[in-house]
Symmetry: C2
């Protein structure tokens, strides 16, 4: 698997043919974690969609890796836009859910303060979100971190993307059914531990959310996230 490193945050886009120095965290990752040698190929990401092929040239004191920029890499746009609206949950479960969501290509994550989200459950800090999304970008190859917003209320969240095909994860022991077609823009609503309250569920249905069965069992939120996103992503496009 190729090695992916990140451009320092304030850097301008690098020019092809130029050289640049990675920051200490990225140098450590390249040299110590992935043990690369001068001459090895590297992919450089800015985390916002910019990707360059590069070569690791040399190490400058103290332990800083220099890259030579070889070319701009063009990546195709995903054919659909995918938004996850997630009730706030406990921080380890949330980290698992966010990693799954990022790998599955979610474009935006909206954190919702649900009735059953406990007060101590918070949106991770910007630094923690960045670390988490960088790890998934290194791993899975996506070149742009998901956007995040919130915490906001359920009505505020549902008002955000009114043109999206919207699904709400739900329980059902119905046999498998044909999956619905959807817009190019899709979003899925997944509740916190303990689920949505009956009032929240009713509000979501009244706002046009379509129930999406994830099977007969009560899933933890961090299981419902990858299961729900995989299904919503797979829906055929409306014609």
């Amino acid at each position: 698997m190729g090695v992916r490193v990140f451009l320092a945050k304030e850097s301008p886009p690098p020019r092809v043919g130029s050289r640049l120095i990675l920051d200490s965290e990225e140098s450590h990752y390249l040299l110590k974690v992935r043990r690369r040698r001068p001459g090895d190929a590297v992919e450089l990401l800015d985390g916002h969609g910019g990707v360059w092929s590069a070569r690791y040239t040399q190490t400058l004191a103290p332990k800083q890796a220099e890259l030579e920029i070889l070319a701009v890499i063009k990546r195709k746009q995903a054919p659909t836009e995918l938004v996850l609206m997630l009730g706030l949950i406990e921080s380890n479960a949330l980290a698992t859910a966010l990693s799954h969501a990022s790998e599955l290509g979610v474009d935006e994550i909206v954190f919702i303060q649900c009735e059953r989200s406990q007060g101590k459950h918070q949106v991770p800090s910007a630094a923690r979100l960045e670390r988490l999304f960088r790890a998934t970008m290194r791993q899975c190859g996506r070149v742009c971190a998901p956007r995040t917003q919130g915490p906001i209320s359920l009505p505020q969240a549902l008002a955000l993307h009114p043109q999206h095909s919207t699904y709400i994860a739900s329980l059902s022991d119905l046999p498998a059914q044909a999956l619905p077609p959807a817009n190019a823009q899709r979003r899925i609503l997944i509740g916190p531990e303990g689920g949505f309250t009956p009032e929240e569920t009713q509000f979501a249905h009244a706002s046009g959310c379509v129930p999406l069965s994830l099977g007969p069992w009560v899933l933890r939120s961090e299981t419902a996230v990858p299961a729900g996103l995989a299904l919503v992503r797979s829906f055929a496009q409306e014609t």
Copy 2:
């Protein structure tokens, strides 16, 4: 949410109207973790499909909970059989994958010793599997732990259930497509960290495995498991 406790392993099926004593682990769970009081309703599981409604009656020294059995609960059979064939991976990732798989209703898990499964990666002990599956059964409501077998080789695994509709998780940046119909028996093959080798992939295709796109990104195994199972479960039944 109801409280679910397990019958001691050697116990015969309890008769309605009788009383029984939970073992110390289950008594601890009922009294200390879930803090139930005499008179509270409980679901009693044997882990192999047997379920009884019961009432917690009293605590006998030392810290043992007594239940009164009220009725047998009949559960419907799932309409499809779902088998996960999983390359061996690192133990924490494996625990996450197995929890997701159990919640999503997988009936059997076959562990595969793949080319890229590292030698130190092993099938969890029977005791660890039991703890893990009990936790998901308490949480999600399924009444029967998944069966497990392996580690075996990929050819051995593929020879196990020749009548099943078989899918292999794969990368694709194709737009979403109509999902195929399938047998009532389905299985999905998911590789270890680093994926299947080209030879393994070729062997799987030659053995009739149908590629199932989980999107354009390289998923970790513990993300591919819930994404793949959710999709395979959702396929309409062949008519």
